[in-house]
Protein backbone atom coordinates (compact mmCIF):
# COMPACT_ATOMS: atom_id res chain seq x y z
CA UNK A 1 0.00 0.00 0.00
CA UNK A 2 1.23 3.45 -0.78
CA UNK A 3 1.69 5.12 2.56
CA UNK A 4 4.62 7.30 1.49
CA UNK A 5 2.55 9.89 -0.28
CA UNK A 6 3.40 8.61 -3.75
CA UNK A 7 0.68 8.47 -6.37
CA UNK A 8 0.53 4.68 -6.36
CA UNK A 9 -2.97 3.24 -6.13
CA UNK A 10 -4.38 4.25 -2.78
CA UNK A 11 -6.86 1.94 -1.04
CA UNK A 12 -10.44 2.72 -2.04
CA UNK A 13 -12.51 4.28 0.71
CA UNK A 14 -15.59 2.45 1.93
CA UNK A 15 -17.54 5.67 1.56
CA UNK A 16 -16.19 8.14 -1.05
CA UNK A 17 -15.96 11.76 0.10
CA UNK A 18 -18.93 13.12 -1.90
CA UNK A 19 -21.18 10.55 -0.22
CA UNK A 20 -19.90 11.42 3.26
CA UNK A 21 -20.24 15.15 2.67
CA UNK A 22 -23.76 14.83 1.29
CA UNK A 23 -24.79 12.40 4.03
CA UNK A 24 -23.88 14.75 6.86
CA UNK A 25 -25.20 17.85 5.12
CA UNK A 26 -28.44 15.94 4.65
CA UNK A 27 -28.53 14.89 8.31
CA UNK A 28 -28.17 18.57 9.29
CA UNK A 29 -30.83 19.71 6.81
CA UNK A 30 -33.25 16.96 7.88
CA UNK A 31 -32.92 17.75 11.58
CA UNK A 32 -33.47 21.46 10.95
CA UNK A 33 -36.39 20.82 8.59
CA UNK A 34 -38.14 18.42 10.95
CA UNK A 35 -37.62 20.54 14.06
CA UNK A 36 -38.92 23.69 12.38
CA UNK A 37 -41.65 21.74 10.63
CA UNK A 38 -42.93 20.62 14.03
CA UNK A 39 -43.15 24.28 15.09
CA UNK A 40 -45.21 25.02 11.97
CA UNK A 41 -47.39 21.96 12.60
CA UNK A 42 -48.29 23.32 16.05
CA UNK A 43 -49.83 26.47 14.52
CA UNK A 44 -52.66 24.40 13.00
CA UNK A 45 -52.31 20.75 14.11
CA UNK A 46 -53.68 18.16 11.71
CA UNK A 47 -54.32 15.69 14.50
CA UNK A 48 -55.34 15.72 18.13
CA UNK A 49 -51.85 16.38 19.41
CA UNK A 50 -49.19 19.06 19.37
CA UNK A 51 -45.45 18.54 19.35
CA UNK A 52 -43.78 19.41 22.67
CA UNK A 53 -42.24 22.87 22.25
CA UNK A 54 -38.83 21.70 23.50
CA UNK A 55 -38.49 19.52 20.42
CA UNK A 56 -39.29 22.29 17.98
CA UNK A 57 -36.88 24.64 16.25
CA UNK A 58 -37.81 28.34 16.16
CA UNK A 59 -39.50 29.93 19.16
CA UNK A 60 -42.74 30.81 17.35
CA UNK A 61 -44.44 30.22 14.02
CA UNK A 62 -42.56 33.02 12.21
CA UNK A 63 -39.18 31.70 13.33
CA UNK A 64 -40.19 28.12 12.52
CA UNK A 65 -41.16 29.11 8.98
CA UNK A 66 -37.94 31.10 8.60
CA UNK A 67 -35.80 28.09 9.56
CA UNK A 68 -37.90 25.76 7.41
CA UNK A 69 -37.61 27.92 4.28
CA UNK A 70 -33.91 28.58 4.94
CA UNK A 71 -32.88 24.92 5.16
CA UNK A 72 -35.22 23.93 2.36
CA UNK A 73 -32.54 25.03 -0.10
CA UNK A 74 -29.81 22.93 1.51
CA UNK A 75 -32.10 19.89 1.53
CA UNK A 76 -33.10 20.47 -2.10
CA UNK A 77 -29.64 21.20 -3.54
CA UNK A 78 -27.96 18.45 -1.53
CA UNK A 79 -30.67 15.93 -2.34
CA UNK A 80 -30.48 16.69 -6.06
CA UNK A 81 -26.69 16.43 -5.97
CA UNK A 82 -26.98 13.04 -4.21
CA UNK A 83 -29.46 11.69 -6.79
CA UNK A 84 -27.36 12.87 -9.74
CA UNK A 85 -24.14 11.59 -8.19
CA UNK A 86 -25.75 8.30 -7.17
CA UNK A 87 -26.97 7.53 -10.67
CA UNK A 88 -24.01 8.95 -12.59
CA UNK A 89 -21.30 7.26 -10.51
CA UNK A 90 -23.06 3.89 -10.48
CA UNK A 91 -23.25 4.08 -6.67
CA UNK A 92 -26.97 3.30 -6.54
CA UNK A 93 -26.66 0.39 -8.93
CA UNK A 94 -23.66 -1.03 -7.11
CA UNK A 95 -24.63 -0.46 -3.47
CA UNK A 96 -28.42 -0.14 -3.23
CA UNK A 97 -29.51 -2.57 -5.92
CA UNK A 98 -30.93 -5.20 -6.37
CA UNK A 99 -33.19 -5.68 -3.39
CA UNK A 100 -34.33 -9.31 -3.27
CA UNK A 101 -37.43 -10.01 -1.15
CA UNK A 102 -36.14 -13.40 0.03
CA UNK A 103 -32.89 -11.89 1.17
CA UNK A 104 -34.73 -9.06 2.94
CA UNK A 105 -36.82 -11.63 4.86
CA UNK A 106 -33.82 -13.76 5.84
CA UNK A 107 -31.72 -10.81 6.93
CA UNK A 108 -34.61 -9.16 8.74
CA UNK A 109 -35.04 -12.29 10.85
CA UNK A 110 -31.30 -12.44 11.41
CA UNK A 111 -31.33 -8.80 12.48
CA UNK A 112 -34.07 -9.51 15.03
CA UNK A 113 -31.78 -12.16 16.50
CA UNK A 114 -28.88 -9.70 16.50
CA UNK A 115 -27.09 -12.00 14.07
CA UNK A 116 -27.03 -9.75 11.04
CA UNK A 117 -23.68 -10.08 9.30
CA UNK A 118 -22.05 -6.81 8.29
CA UNK A 119 -19.44 -6.85 5.58
CA UNK A 120 -17.30 -3.77 5.08
CA UNK A 121 -18.53 -1.70 2.17
CA UNK A 122 -21.54 -3.88 1.46
CA UNK A 123 -25.05 -2.96 2.58
CA UNK A 124 -27.22 -5.89 3.64
CA UNK A 125 -30.69 -6.26 2.12
CA UNK A 126 -32.48 -4.67 5.08
CA UNK A 127 -30.24 -1.63 4.81
CA UNK A 128 -30.80 -1.38 1.07
CA UNK A 129 -34.55 -1.47 1.55
CA UNK A 130 -34.38 1.19 4.26
CA UNK A 131 -32.15 3.47 2.18
CA UNK A 132 -34.23 3.23 -0.99
CA UNK A 133 -37.32 3.74 1.16
CA UNK A 134 -36.00 6.90 2.79
CA UNK A 135 -34.83 8.28 -0.57
CA UNK A 136 -38.41 7.81 -1.78
CA UNK A 137 -39.80 9.43 1.39
CA UNK A 138 -37.40 12.32 0.78
CA UNK A 139 -38.80 12.80 -2.71
CA UNK A 140 -42.35 12.74 -1.39
CA UNK A 141 -41.61 15.16 1.44
CA UNK A 142 -40.01 17.66 -0.98
CA UNK A 143 -42.73 17.41 -3.62
CA UNK A 144 -45.59 17.72 -1.12
CA UNK A 145 -43.73 20.52 0.67
CA UNK A 146 -43.35 22.50 -2.54
CA UNK A 147 -47.02 21.74 -3.24
CA UNK A 148 -48.20 23.34 0.01
CA UNK A 149 -45.72 26.22 -0.19
CA UNK A 150 -46.69 27.17 -3.75
CA UNK A 151 -50.17 25.80 -4.55
CA UNK A 152 -50.56 28.46 -7.28
CA UNK A 153 -47.17 28.60 -9.01
CA UNK A 154 -46.30 24.90 -8.48
CA UNK A 155 -49.88 23.65 -8.78
CA UNK A 156 -48.72 20.45 -10.52
CA UNK A 157 -46.99 19.34 -7.30
CA UNK A 158 -50.13 20.23 -5.31
CA UNK A 159 -52.31 18.27 -7.76
CA UNK A 160 -49.88 15.35 -7.73
CA UNK A 161 -50.43 15.13 -3.96
CA UNK A 162 -54.22 15.22 -4.29
CA UNK A 163 -54.75 18.97 -3.74
CA UNK A 164 -53.74 21.41 -1.00
CA UNK A 165 -55.74 19.78 1.78
CA UNK A 166 -54.45 16.24 1.21
CA UNK A 167 -50.92 17.44 0.42
CA UNK A 168 -50.58 18.58 4.05
CA UNK A 169 -51.28 15.00 5.20
CA UNK A 170 -48.93 13.59 2.57
CA UNK A 171 -46.21 15.96 3.84
CA UNK A 172 -46.87 14.91 7.43
CA UNK A 173 -46.72 11.17 6.74
CA UNK A 174 -43.59 11.50 4.60
CA UNK A 175 -41.98 13.33 7.55
CA UNK A 176 -43.20 10.62 9.93
CA UNK A 177 -41.63 7.88 7.79
CA UNK A 178 -38.34 9.76 7.72
CA UNK A 179 -38.45 10.03 11.51
CA UNK A 180 -39.18 6.28 11.73
CA UNK A 181 -36.28 5.59 9.37
CA UNK A 182 -33.96 7.71 11.50
CA UNK A 183 -34.92 5.83 14.64
CA UNK A 184 -34.14 2.46 13.02
CA UNK A 185 -31.07 3.84 11.22
CA UNK A 186 -29.48 5.25 14.37
CA UNK A 187 -30.42 2.12 16.32
CA UNK A 188 -28.64 -0.03 13.72
CA UNK A 189 -25.55 2.20 13.92
CA UNK A 190 -25.59 1.89 17.71
CA UNK A 191 -25.81 -1.91 17.36
CA UNK A 192 -22.88 -2.03 14.92
CA UNK A 193 -20.90 1.08 15.93
CA UNK A 194 -17.85 0.21 13.83
CA UNK A 195 -19.74 1.31 10.69
CA UNK A 196 -19.75 4.90 11.94
CA UNK A 197 -16.06 5.98 11.62
CA UNK A 198 -15.89 5.10 7.89
CA UNK A 199 -18.94 7.33 7.28
CA UNK A 200 -16.84 10.18 8.74
CA UNK A 201 -13.28 9.47 7.60
CA UNK A 202 -13.99 7.28 4.58
CA UNK A 203 -12.33 4.10 5.87
CA UNK A 204 -10.55 1.56 3.71
CA UNK A 205 -12.07 -1.09 1.54
CA UNK A 206 -10.60 -4.56 2.29
CA UNK A 207 -8.16 -5.87 -0.34
CA UNK A 208 -9.62 -7.49 -3.39
CA UNK A 209 -13.10 -6.05 -2.90
CA UNK A 210 -14.61 -3.33 -4.97
Amino acid sequence: MARDGSTQARPRPIHPWPLRLMHWLNALAIVMMIGSGWQIYNAAPLFNFSIPETLTIGAWLGAGIAWHLAFLWLLLANGLAYLIWGFASGHFKQKLWPILPGQVMREFIAALRFKLPHQKGVYNAVQKLLYVGVIFAGLVVVISGLGIWKPVQLWFFTDLCGGYYIARYVHFFAMASIVAFMAVHILLVLMVPRVLPPMITGGEMPEGQS
Binding site: A59, W60, G62, I65, W67, K150, Q153
Partner: protein, 240 residues
Protein backbone atom coordinates in the same frame (compact mmCIF):
# COMPACT_ATOMS: atom_id res chain seq x y z
CA UNK B 1 -52.77 34.85 16.95
CA UNK B 2 -53.35 35.41 20.66
CA UNK B 3 -52.33 31.86 21.36
CA UNK B 4 -49.14 32.47 19.43
CA UNK B 5 -48.17 35.35 21.68
CA UNK B 6 -48.72 33.19 24.74
CA UNK B 7 -46.46 30.51 23.33
CA UNK B 8 -43.81 33.07 22.61
CA UNK B 9 -43.83 34.43 26.10
CA UNK B 10 -43.76 30.97 27.63
CA UNK B 11 -40.93 29.94 25.38
CA UNK B 12 -38.90 33.02 25.98
CA UNK B 13 -39.01 32.58 29.73
CA UNK B 14 -38.10 28.93 29.42
CA UNK B 15 -35.29 29.71 27.03
CA UNK B 16 -33.91 32.18 29.54
CA UNK B 17 -34.15 29.56 32.23
CA UNK B 18 -32.60 26.75 30.25
CA UNK B 19 -29.85 28.89 28.85
CA UNK B 20 -28.09 29.12 25.55
CA UNK B 21 -28.96 25.69 24.14
CA UNK B 22 -32.69 26.25 23.88
CA UNK B 23 -32.23 29.96 23.20
CA UNK B 24 -30.11 29.31 20.11
CA UNK B 25 -32.67 28.41 17.45
CA UNK B 26 -33.92 31.86 16.56
CA UNK B 27 -35.43 32.78 19.89
CA UNK B 28 -34.45 36.38 19.20
CA UNK B 29 -36.11 36.31 15.82
CA UNK B 30 -39.11 38.03 17.30
CA UNK B 31 -36.97 40.62 19.06
CA UNK B 32 -35.38 42.84 16.38
CA UNK B 33 -33.76 44.93 19.12
CA UNK B 34 -31.42 42.06 20.04
CA UNK B 35 -30.42 40.31 16.82
CA UNK B 36 -27.96 37.42 16.96
CA UNK B 37 -26.16 35.33 14.33
CA UNK B 38 -29.23 33.16 13.81
CA UNK B 39 -31.33 36.27 13.13
CA UNK B 40 -28.79 37.56 10.67
CA UNK B 41 -28.81 34.21 8.85
CA UNK B 42 -32.61 33.97 8.83
CA UNK B 43 -33.02 37.51 7.49
CA UNK B 44 -30.50 36.85 4.71
CA UNK B 45 -32.31 33.64 3.77
CA UNK B 46 -35.70 35.35 3.89
CA UNK B 47 -34.42 38.02 1.47
CA UNK B 48 -33.09 35.24 -0.76
CA UNK B 49 -36.51 33.58 -0.59
CA UNK B 50 -38.16 36.86 -1.66
CA UNK B 51 -35.98 36.83 -4.78
CA UNK B 52 -36.62 33.16 -5.52
CA UNK B 53 -40.37 33.68 -5.23
CA UNK B 54 -40.24 36.73 -7.53
CA UNK B 55 -38.46 34.51 -10.08
CA UNK B 56 -40.99 31.75 -9.60
CA UNK B 57 -43.93 34.15 -9.94
CA UNK B 58 -45.63 33.73 -13.32
CA UNK B 59 -48.02 36.63 -14.07
CA UNK B 60 -50.12 34.31 -16.24
CA UNK B 61 -50.59 31.50 -13.71
CA UNK B 62 -54.02 31.84 -12.15
CA UNK B 63 -54.95 30.73 -8.66
CA UNK B 64 -57.47 27.87 -8.79
CA UNK B 65 -61.13 28.89 -8.65
CA UNK B 66 -63.98 26.92 -7.09
CA UNK B 67 -67.70 26.38 -7.48
CA UNK B 68 -70.16 28.30 -5.22
CA UNK B 69 -70.98 25.06 -3.39
CA UNK B 70 -67.42 24.87 -2.05
CA UNK B 71 -67.48 28.23 -0.26
CA UNK B 72 -66.60 27.89 3.44
CA UNK B 73 -69.64 28.61 5.53
CA UNK B 74 -69.64 30.26 8.02
CA UNK B 75 -66.58 32.26 6.98
CA UNK B 76 -63.55 32.20 9.27
CA UNK B 77 -62.52 35.39 11.02
CA UNK B 78 -58.83 35.97 11.67
CA UNK B 79 -56.86 39.01 12.86
CA UNK B 80 -54.37 39.98 15.54
CA UNK B 81 -57.35 41.02 17.74
CA UNK B 82 -60.79 39.77 18.69
CA UNK B 83 -63.64 39.87 16.18
CA UNK B 84 -65.55 42.45 18.29
CA UNK B 85 -62.60 44.84 18.09
CA UNK B 86 -62.63 45.05 14.29
CA UNK B 87 -62.53 48.71 13.24
CA UNK B 88 -65.80 50.20 12.04
CA UNK B 89 -65.30 52.64 9.17
CA UNK B 90 -68.20 54.90 8.18
CA UNK B 91 -68.91 54.04 4.55
CA UNK B 92 -70.55 57.44 3.93
CA UNK B 93 -67.43 59.46 4.73
CA UNK B 94 -64.88 56.87 3.62
CA UNK B 95 -62.25 57.98 1.12
CA UNK B 96 -59.28 55.92 -0.04
CA UNK B 97 -56.18 58.12 0.12
CA UNK B 98 -53.46 57.77 -2.48
CA UNK B 99 -49.75 58.52 -2.14
CA UNK B 100 -46.36 58.08 -3.74
CA UNK B 101 -45.64 57.81 -7.48
CA UNK B 102 -49.19 58.40 -8.66
CA UNK B 103 -50.30 61.12 -11.12
CA UNK B 104 -53.85 61.61 -9.91
CA UNK B 105 -53.78 61.49 -6.13
CA UNK B 106 -57.39 62.48 -5.58
CA UNK B 107 -58.97 60.19 -3.00
CA UNK B 108 -61.73 57.74 -3.86
CA UNK B 109 -65.14 57.42 -2.25
CA UNK B 110 -66.89 54.06 -2.10
CA UNK B 111 -69.40 55.19 -4.73
CA UNK B 112 -66.57 56.14 -7.11
CA UNK B 113 -64.89 52.75 -6.55
CA UNK B 114 -68.19 50.97 -7.19
CA UNK B 115 -68.59 52.85 -10.47
CA UNK B 116 -65.37 51.20 -11.78
CA UNK B 117 -65.42 47.78 -13.51
CA UNK B 118 -65.86 44.97 -10.96
CA UNK B 119 -64.35 41.51 -11.05
CA UNK B 120 -65.52 38.53 -8.98
CA UNK B 121 -63.74 35.37 -7.86
CA UNK B 122 -64.22 32.28 -5.74
CA UNK B 123 -60.73 31.49 -4.55
CA UNK B 124 -58.82 29.78 -1.78
CA UNK B 125 -57.49 31.83 1.10
CA UNK B 126 -54.43 30.09 2.58
CA UNK B 127 -53.24 31.13 6.03
CA UNK B 128 -49.57 31.14 7.01
CA UNK B 129 -50.65 28.82 9.86
CA UNK B 130 -51.58 26.14 7.35
CA UNK B 131 -55.40 26.22 7.30
CA UNK B 132 -57.36 27.33 4.27
CA UNK B 133 -60.88 28.53 3.47
CA UNK B 134 -62.71 29.21 0.23
CA UNK B 135 -64.50 32.51 -0.22
CA UNK B 136 -66.12 34.75 -2.78
CA UNK B 137 -64.92 38.31 -3.27
CA UNK B 138 -65.53 40.97 -5.88
CA UNK B 139 -64.22 44.46 -6.49
CA UNK B 140 -61.93 46.56 -8.65
CA UNK B 141 -58.96 44.80 -10.25
CA UNK B 142 -55.91 46.49 -8.69
CA UNK B 143 -54.03 46.52 -12.01
CA UNK B 144 -56.90 48.41 -13.64
CA UNK B 145 -57.05 50.84 -10.71
CA UNK B 146 -53.30 51.51 -10.76
CA UNK B 147 -53.40 52.34 -14.46
CA UNK B 148 -56.53 54.45 -13.99
CA UNK B 149 -54.87 56.67 -11.33
CA UNK B 150 -51.69 56.98 -13.37
CA UNK B 151 -49.50 55.00 -10.98
CA UNK B 152 -45.90 54.43 -12.02
CA UNK B 153 -46.10 50.65 -12.48
CA UNK B 154 -42.33 50.40 -12.90
CA UNK B 155 -42.10 51.03 -9.14
CA UNK B 156 -41.28 48.05 -6.96
CA UNK B 157 -43.93 48.25 -4.25
CA UNK B 158 -47.57 48.93 -3.53
CA UNK B 159 -48.18 49.56 0.17
CA UNK B 160 -51.34 49.67 2.25
CA UNK B 161 -52.28 51.25 5.59
CA UNK B 162 -55.39 50.09 7.39
CA UNK B 163 -57.92 51.46 9.85
CA UNK B 164 -56.73 49.07 12.60
CA UNK B 165 -53.06 50.04 12.39
CA UNK B 166 -52.25 47.04 10.22
CA UNK B 167 -50.00 47.67 7.24
CA UNK B 168 -48.48 45.58 4.46
CA UNK B 169 -46.86 45.89 1.07
CA UNK B 170 -46.63 43.76 -2.08
CA UNK B 171 -44.45 43.57 -5.19
CA UNK B 172 -45.67 45.33 -8.35
CA UNK B 173 -45.81 42.13 -10.44
CA UNK B 174 -48.26 40.56 -7.98
CA UNK B 175 -50.22 43.83 -7.74
CA UNK B 176 -50.80 43.70 -11.51
CA UNK B 177 -51.88 40.03 -11.48
CA UNK B 178 -55.41 39.72 -12.97
CA UNK B 179 -56.81 38.11 -9.79
CA UNK B 180 -55.54 40.84 -7.45
CA UNK B 181 -58.52 43.03 -6.55
CA UNK B 182 -59.53 45.85 -4.22
CA UNK B 183 -62.47 43.89 -2.85
CA UNK B 184 -65.69 45.67 -1.91
CA UNK B 185 -67.98 42.65 -1.63
CA UNK B 186 -67.64 39.38 0.23
CA UNK B 187 -70.14 36.54 -0.32
CA UNK B 188 -72.21 38.75 -2.65
CA UNK B 189 -72.78 41.52 -0.08
CA UNK B 190 -70.75 44.57 0.92
CA UNK B 191 -67.83 43.68 3.18
CA UNK B 192 -68.61 43.71 6.93
CA UNK B 193 -66.25 45.12 9.55
CA UNK B 194 -64.57 41.85 10.64
CA UNK B 195 -63.90 40.91 7.03
CA UNK B 196 -62.34 44.20 6.05
CA UNK B 197 -65.05 46.77 5.29
CA UNK B 198 -65.15 48.95 3.35
CA UNK B 199 -62.19 47.97 1.11
CA UNK B 200 -59.71 45.15 1.44
CA UNK B 201 -57.05 43.64 -0.76
CA UNK B 202 -57.84 40.20 -2.11
CA UNK B 203 -54.74 38.60 -3.60
CA UNK B 204 -55.10 34.82 -4.04
CA UNK B 205 -51.46 34.47 -5.20
CA UNK B 206 -50.28 35.31 -1.69
CA UNK B 207 -50.83 34.08 1.87
CA UNK B 208 -53.72 35.42 3.95
CA UNK B 209 -51.80 38.02 5.93
CA UNK B 210 -50.84 39.72 2.63
CA UNK B 211 -54.57 40.57 2.18
CA UNK B 212 -54.88 43.74 4.32
CA UNK B 213 -58.37 44.74 5.48
CA UNK B 214 -60.07 48.13 5.92
CA UNK B 215 -57.54 49.88 3.69
CA UNK B 216 -57.34 53.66 4.27
CA UNK B 217 -54.22 54.50 2.25
CA UNK B 218 -52.58 53.08 -0.84
CA UNK B 219 -49.11 54.16 -1.98
CA UNK B 220 -46.84 53.27 -4.89
CA UNK B 221 -43.09 53.64 -4.42
CA UNK B 222 -39.62 52.17 -4.60
CA UNK B 223 -39.21 52.41 -0.85
CA UNK B 224 -39.66 49.14 1.04
CA UNK B 225 -42.21 49.57 3.82
CA UNK B 226 -42.49 46.01 5.15
CA UNK B 227 -45.61 45.08 7.04
CA UNK B 228 -47.10 44.29 10.44
CA UNK B 229 -46.21 40.59 10.42
CA UNK B 230 -43.35 40.93 7.94
CA UNK B 231 -41.49 43.21 10.37
CA UNK B 232 -41.80 40.50 13.04
CA UNK B 233 -40.20 37.88 10.84
CA UNK B 234 -42.74 36.46 8.42
CA UNK B 235 -41.38 36.24 4.89
CA UNK B 236 -42.26 39.43 2.96
CA UNK B 237 -43.11 37.99 -0.47
CA UNK B 238 -45.17 35.08 0.94
CA UNK B 239 -46.43 34.02 -2.47
CA UNK B 240 -48.62 30.99 -3.03
Amino acid sequence: MKQLDLNRRKLLSRALALGAITALPGCNYEDPAHPDVADWFLHKMSAFNDEMQALLFNPNTLAPTFSPGMITNPPRFNAFYDMSQAPVVDPATYALELGGQIQDKQSWTLAALRALPQEGQITRFVCVEGWRVIGQWSGVPLGYFLHRIGADVTCKYVSFKCADGYYSSIDMASALHPQTILALDFLNAPLTAPFGAPVRLRIPTKLGFKNPKSIMQLAVSNVYTGGYWEDQGYNWFSGS
